[in-house]
């Protein structure tokens, strides 16, 4: 499963970020959202940035994503049911290596908790895509 972005449809409403943060943090907390809206100006154009789940399609052959590759404690593993690289918070030491390794800046690091977070495709039903009012986020099975 992958998120495909139709950035020309994005209105910059941030509903994806509020619902994403709520799904993962039980609070409305855009700073902790696993999706990010980049904007050239306040009035757009907007470009939603999501985790690409790099190499997920070849994970069964042993391929790793850049973030999983560098994790010193192997806390980032593929969820085979939906193809999401998922961080095990129990294992994460907060070293920040994954944050540096991600080419797209999609690791969210919370200094207060000393933990890294990333998109886990909401366990297979991504809330950002479900709530986006302008269909800018599409779920594609891979």
């Amino acid at each position: 499963m992958q998120l495909r972005i139709h950035k020309e449809k994005c209105t910059g409403c941030l509903i994806c970020t509020t619902y994403c943060s709520f799904q993962h943090e039980r609070a409305i907390w855009p700073a902790m959202a696993r999706i990010r809206i980049e904007a050239e100006t306040d009035s757009g154009p907007f470009s939603p940035q999501v985790c690409r789940q790099c190499n997920a399609g070849r994970a069964s052959q042993g391929a790793l994503s850049p973030c999983a590759e560098v994790c010193p404690v192997d806390a980032i593993c593929i969820n085979e049911a939906n193809g999401a690289w998922t961080i095990d918070a129990g294992l994460c030491t907060g070293c920040g290596a994954c944050e540096d390794a991600c080419p797209f800046g999609m690791i969210v690091f919370d200094g207060a908790r000393g933990l890294a977070f990333k998109c886990d495709l909401c366990g297979g039903d991504p809330t950002c895509a479900a709530m986006c009012p302008s269909d800018a986020i599409e779920v594609r099975s891979t």
Binding site: C13, F22, I28, S43
Partner: protein, 641 residues
């Protein structure tokens, strides 16, 4: 310990005279009695700013106030209230804006910012989460609104800073100056920007990174997601989303409800050049949303060529298409957009600025003014140069005439005399927006009962605007039809107006939008807001209790105005509406007389028929005993008791 979730739980007091900031815990009884937002500000104004305080004195408060649903998961929760005594009307004043500042303030950990005093020199308020500073703003003073915002973002090296800023108009004391809220939204009415300018506060800049927690996450999620689903299934969602408020221009014109030539008419012959179709064909770039809004009624417009090629702006609303278009007899959409941009950059309310111009143009037509009195400007209807020149001159207060207009139509008419008062289209000093009570009777009543002077947004009677029989049936029941959905009928309208005012006070106090689900789509109503507030905050909330809060806020504002000398005699429309028949559209031949509707409205409100003041019994019922004392409502003064 403040017990409720969804609030940040604390507010900031900024004393500009002492140059000091102080954190205060949010008061539990304030939340229970007034929710937040509008109610919070109205209550503080009542407690701290008496009739003896001039609106531009340091003692006036300027309150930026969010509500418990602001920044949350419910649809369109991006709204913030600004409250102060109005320098334009001299009575209770508020303005509301969407955008992103309200939510950002809550993410920074503050429900409200209350500004008092006056700084010696220009300053701005910098809020980064818990860090709050009053900073010098010498370098910002004199800049336009977008220059101010851009400069702060450069200083902070952060393009995500959200701001509330004033422009040169407010610095110069134009009495209808607004406050621009990121991104180019306006808390426009009542001259609250002028209050900000009088305090020498150029901007409030906010960056927040924290969470908003809710009391019952599972239930709140379910309620919010369901409201989103319902909005998107609403029969007019697509139209509002596609065209925003400009979408109703042609409908209102057909109803004879689109003020033309300073309300001489209600339909404009050049309407095809001003409607949504024309606007979009000329300049549409993309759809834009405020925080958390699925409707995205905002659009970016850019002029591709012509004298204003490159003019680019958002938030071009129905109101401005009227104020800078039909009302001044201008059919050139480019001029409307340029006038809108000028008002945004200089920081003026497009409605009051446009009404000042149409007032001047009618005085010129009536030969009440001559060239000597207009600083050499022949105020011909629809003249592009006159419109744009007057806007610039008003903002800079250049020349006697523009300076006179910059004080609003009521004061300008009083100064001019010679019958000019008949053409000053205002109630209580506030210029009437783009509605005509002759074409929609509920709106005429709403204009006179609004607590901030002529206003459509306090009662916001959308149900009978173009006829929403399904919504009327759903909200009020079959018994209210067909009149409740008919714009020319007066039956049931006092009830519609009262219900709208009470519900609107709640909507403005929880921090959601009237243009989204609550009034324009008429989808979200009392029971929905009660459920959302309860799940978000943990405060037990029934529809009955919520209605009482709305009524309490509205009555307190009325008491505030009563202390400032407002009585039934002030609840009246300009003479034109009762004496000149509308020549236009569906309203052809119509006048409006509000007296009978007012009688019924006061009775429904429990207000005295003679004074138009809340009665002792009503205030006691609303637990506003202190207002009984303040208004000196001894039993023998109460004709209704």
């Amino acid at each position: 310990m403040f017990p409720y979730k969804a609030y940040a739980g604390k507010w900031l007091h900024v004393d500009l005279t002492a140059r000091r900031v102080e954190s205060h815990p949010y008061d539990q009884s304030m939340a229970e009695q007034y929710l937040g937002g509008n109610g919070f500000g109205a209550r503080l104004l009542w407690e701290h700013v008496g009739p003896e305080v001039d609106a531009l004195a340091p003692e006036n408060l300027l309150v930026f106030s969010t509500g418990p649903l602001c920044g949350t998961l419910v649809p369109n929760p991006g709204r913030m209230e600004v409250i102060a005594k109005s320098p334009l009307t001299g009575i209770y004043g508020d303005a509301n804006a969407g955008g992103f500042l309200g939510p950002e303030l809550k993410f920074a950990g503050w429900d409200a910012v209350v500004v008092t005093g006056r700084s010696d020199g220009p300053v701005y308020l910098a809020i980064r989460d818990e860090e709050v500073e009053i900073r010098d703003a010498d370098a910002l003073w004199g800049l336009t609104t977008s220059e101010t915002e851009d400069t702060i973002r450069q200083l902070w090296r952060d393009t995500n800073v959200k701001t509330a800023v004033i422009g040169p108009a407010a610095e110069n004391g134009v009495l209808f100056s607004g406050i621009q809220i990121t991104p180019q939204r306006s808390a426009a009415r009542c001259g609250l920007g002028t209050v900000m300018g009088s305090k020498r506060l150029k901007a409030v800049a906010v960056r927040g990174h924290g969470p908003i927690e809710v009391a019952d996450p599972a239930r709140f999620y379910e309620i919010s997601a369901d409201l989103h689903r319902r909005l998107r299934a609403n029969p007019i969602f697509e139209a509002v989303s596609a065209h925003g408020t400009p979408g109703i221009v042609s409908m209102m014109d057909a109803l004879g409800r689109f003020p033309t030539k300073n309300f001489q008419m209600g339909s404009f012959p050049g309407i095809d050049s001003l409607d949504a179709e024309a606007l979009e064909a000329r300049a549409f770039v993309r759809h834009l949303a405020c925080f958390g809004c699925p409707v995205a009624c905002d659009k970016l417009y850019t002029l591709p060529d012509g004298p204003f090629a490159g003019t680019s702006l958002r938030s071009v609303e129905y109101e401005t298409l009227n104020a800078m278009g039909a009302a001044v007899w201008n059919a050139d959409i480019d001029t409307v957009l340029e006038a809108n941009r000028l008002c945004d950059e200089l920081g003026m309310d497009t409605i009051s600025a446009g009404r000042a111009i149409s007032f001047g143009m009618e005085l010129w037509e009536q030969e009440i003014l001559n060239l000597d009195e207009t600083d050499g400007l022949p105020l011909r209807w629809g003249d592009r140069d006159v419109i744009l020149t007057l806007l610039e001159r008003m903002a800079r207060r250049e020349g006697d005439f523009a300076t006179l207009l910059s004080r609003g139509v009521r004061r300008a008419a009083e100064t001019i005399g010679r019958g000019a008062e008949d053409y000053a289209m205002h109630v209580k000093g506030m210029a009437i927006a783009a509605q005509d009570g002759r074409a929609q009777k509920s709106m005429g009543l709403a204009h006179v009962t609004s607590n901030r002077g002529a206003d459509h947004l306090k009662a916001f009677p959308t149900i009978d605007e173009t006829g929403y029989p399904d919504e009327a049936r759903r909200r009020y029941g079959e018994a209210y039809l067909p009149e409740m959905a008919q714009p020319l009928a007066t039956k049931h309208k006092p009830f519609l107006v009262k219900d709208g005012e009470d519900f609107g006070a709640v909507v403005d106090s929880v921090g959601v939008c009237k243009s989204g689900g609550t009034f324009v789509l008429a989808e979200i109503y009392w029971e929905d807001v009660a459920a959302a507030v309860e799940a978000a905050t943990g405060m037990a909330m029934s529809v009955e209790r919520l209605k009482q809060i709305g009524e309490r806020i509205y009555n307190l504002q009325r008491c505030y105005n009563a202390l400032h000398g407002i009585t039934r005699a002030d609840d009246r429309l300009p003479r034109r509406f009762s004496e000149e028949r509308s020549p236009s559209g569906n309203a052809e031949g119509e006048t409006i007389h509000v007296e009978a509707m007012l009688d019924e409205y006061y009775a429904l409100r429990g207000w005295d028929q003679e004074t138009g003041w809340p009665t002792r019994a009503k205030l006691r019922e609303l637990e506003l005993d202190e207002a009984v004392d303040a208004l000196d409502l001894s039993p023998d003064r109460q004709s209704l008791e």
